[in-house]
Amino acid sequence: MTESPLLSVRDLRTTFDTEAGVVQAVGGVSFDIRRGEVLAIVGESGSGKSVTAMSIVGLVPDPGRIEAGQVLWKGRDLIGASGRQLRAVRGSEIGVIFQDPMSALNPVHTVGRQIAESILIHRRGTRRQAMERAIEVMTSIGIPQARRRARSYPFEFSGGMRQRVMIAIALANEPDLLIADEPTTALDVTIQAQVVSTLQEIRARTGAAVLLITHDLGLVAAMADQVAVMYAGRMVERGSAEEVFQRPRHPYTVGLLASLPRLDTAGNDRLRPILGSPPSLIDLPSGCAFHPRCPYARTPVPCASEEPPLEGAAAIQDDAGHRAACHFAPEVAAAAVVGS
C-alpha cells in the first residue's frame, strides 16, 4: 500500500443549469495527486479543466453546481463541507493562482497588503508581522526590492510581476497544493519562462504539489510529472508526462500532439489539425464523445454506442498507470508510434 494521496477526486460531476439546457461541464472525472507531485490537466477551452479545479475548492461560479462525486482532501470530503471548513482550506492548505494577473489583484490595495491579507485570514498575528511575512514571500519568489515594492499598487507592476504577486498570495500560507489555472496564458513568452522557473523553484523548495491547468503543452512538458487529458468534460487519457507525450494512446491526445509544431521533425511536415469542432456540452455525442472527430472510430459499434471507461480501461501492459479511455487504445498507440 502506497502513501494515501493528498487529493483524491472521485467521479466528479459538475453541471451548469442554463436556459438552453443542462451543461455538463465535468462529467465524471477521477484523479489523485500525491504530495509533491505536479499533475497537469490539459485540454482545449471548454473541456472542463477550470471547472474541475474550481470544484475542488468549492468555488464553482453560478449557476453551476457539483452534482456528484467526492473531493477527498487529506482523506476528508470537501464536497458538502461547511463554508467555514472550506474557507479554512482555501488559501491556507490549497492556494490558487489565477489566469489573468491584470485583473486578479484589487486595484485599491497595495500588493503587500493583499499578500498580508491572505496571511491574516488564516493566522493570528499583527498586521506588521503579516507584512513582514509578505515581504519575505515576495523576496523568496524573486521580486526585487520587495520591501519597497510591497507598498506599490498593482497598476505599478508589469504583467509578469503581478503574476508573481499572485503566486506570492497563493504561497503565503505554505499550502500543500497549489492550483495554477493557466498561470502563463495571459503573459508574453519571455515572462512565461520566468514564471515557469519561479513555479519550478517553489516546487523544489516547498515540496508543494501542483495542479496545473493549461492548454500549453510546452508548459506541461517543462513542469508536469503526471498528465491528464480532458475532452468534453471527461478525462480521456492519464499517465506520466513522459509516457503520454511519447506514447499517446487516445486519438485526441495523438491529434493534440500532432497539431503542434515540433523541433525534431522535418521542416516540410505540415501540422495536422483535429478536424471538426468540440461538441456541445448540452448534447454530447453518444458513446465516446470524441468519435465524430476521431480517425480511428468505428461506428456504430462500439464507438457511437458505448462510452469507453478510463478507470476500467484495459491495463496497458508496459505501464499500469497509463490509461486511455478508448476502445482501440492499443491500435492508436501502435499507429502513433509509427506515425511520429
Binding site: 479554512a88 489583484l105 491572505s118 499598487y153
Partner: protein
Amino acid sequence: MPGGTDMAGTERTGGPGRQQSGPRHGQAAVAFGRAVRTPSGVIGVSFLVVAIGAALMADTIAPGDPFASSGPALRPPSADHLMGTDNFGRDIAQAVLYGMRTSMTIVFWVVAMSFVIGVAVGMVSGYLGGWVDDLLSRLTEVFQSIPLFFLALLVVGFFGSGVDNLILLLGFTSWELLARVVRAETLSLRERAYMEAARSSGASTVRILLRHVLPNVAPTAVVVMALVGSRVILIEAALSFIGLGDPNQISLGYLVSSAQPFLRVAWWMSIFPGLAIVVAVLALNLTGDVINDALDPRRSSSGRRGRRRRSAAGTEAVPDLAASTQAQPEPRNP
C-alpha cells in the same frame, strides 16, 4: 509638513521614512486638483469651506444667544450688524451663522446614517444576490416611493419637531438612492477576478465586503452623499419655513419665513438667510460634481464632453448616477 506640499487635496501622512504617496494618490490628487480649478470647482469648494466654517465657528464669531435682541429693530446692514437686524432687533448675521450650524449638523448626521444604511444594504444586496437581493431591492423601492416631505410632515406632527427627530427621520429615509447605486457597483465588482481571488484565499463574505467592495464603492458613495446632503438642507429649510422646525434652534428656513411680513421694509431679513441656503446647497452639489469629475477619467481628460454632460440643475450634476434612479420632485421653498 515633511511630506511635501505638491499633493493638493490628499493628506496622506505616513510614518517617518515612508515614501511620498504613491502615484495612485498622486494621480487622484492631480485629477482632483484639475477638477477643483474649474469654475464650479472653485465655487463649490469655497462655498463648502464657508458653510462648514460658519457651522463650526458660529459661537466663536458671534457669541451669545441668537434669539436675544442685540440692538434696534429692522436696521439695514451696517458695520455693527453686517446683515442688519430683524423685527426684534436680533442680529441677522448671527442668526444665519447659527442657522447654518443647525443645517450642517442635520446634514452631517443624516448623511452619516444613510451612508451606513445605504452602503450596507447596497453591498449585501448586490453581493449576495438571490432572494436577499430581491428582498432588499423591494425594500429600497418602498422607501423610494415614500414622499419624503409629507412623511416628514406626519412625523413632525406626531412626534414633535426636535432636531433629533428630524435627523432620525431623514437618516432612515435618505439611503435609497445610495443603496441602489452601491448595489449596481457591487454587482459589477462581484464578477471581477480579484473577488474570485479573494474567495479562493479563504476570505469570508464579510471580509470581502469590507476589504474589497467597500473601498471600491466608497468614492461613488461620497458623490451620492453630497447630493443627498443638499436635498436634506432643502427639506429641513422647507419644514422650518412652514413652522415645523425645531423651535429651540435657529434655522435658515425659519429665518426666511419670519422675514415674510417685512419683505417690503427689510429686504435683508430674507435675502441673507436665503443666500445662505443657496450657498449650502450649491456647496454640496458642486463639490459632489467636482469629486465625480476627479473620479471619472473621461470627464477630466476631455473638457468638451464634460461640459456637455454637466447640466445646470444641481441635483442632475451626476448624470451617470442619476440614471439609476427616477427623477425625484425636489421639495422647494414655498
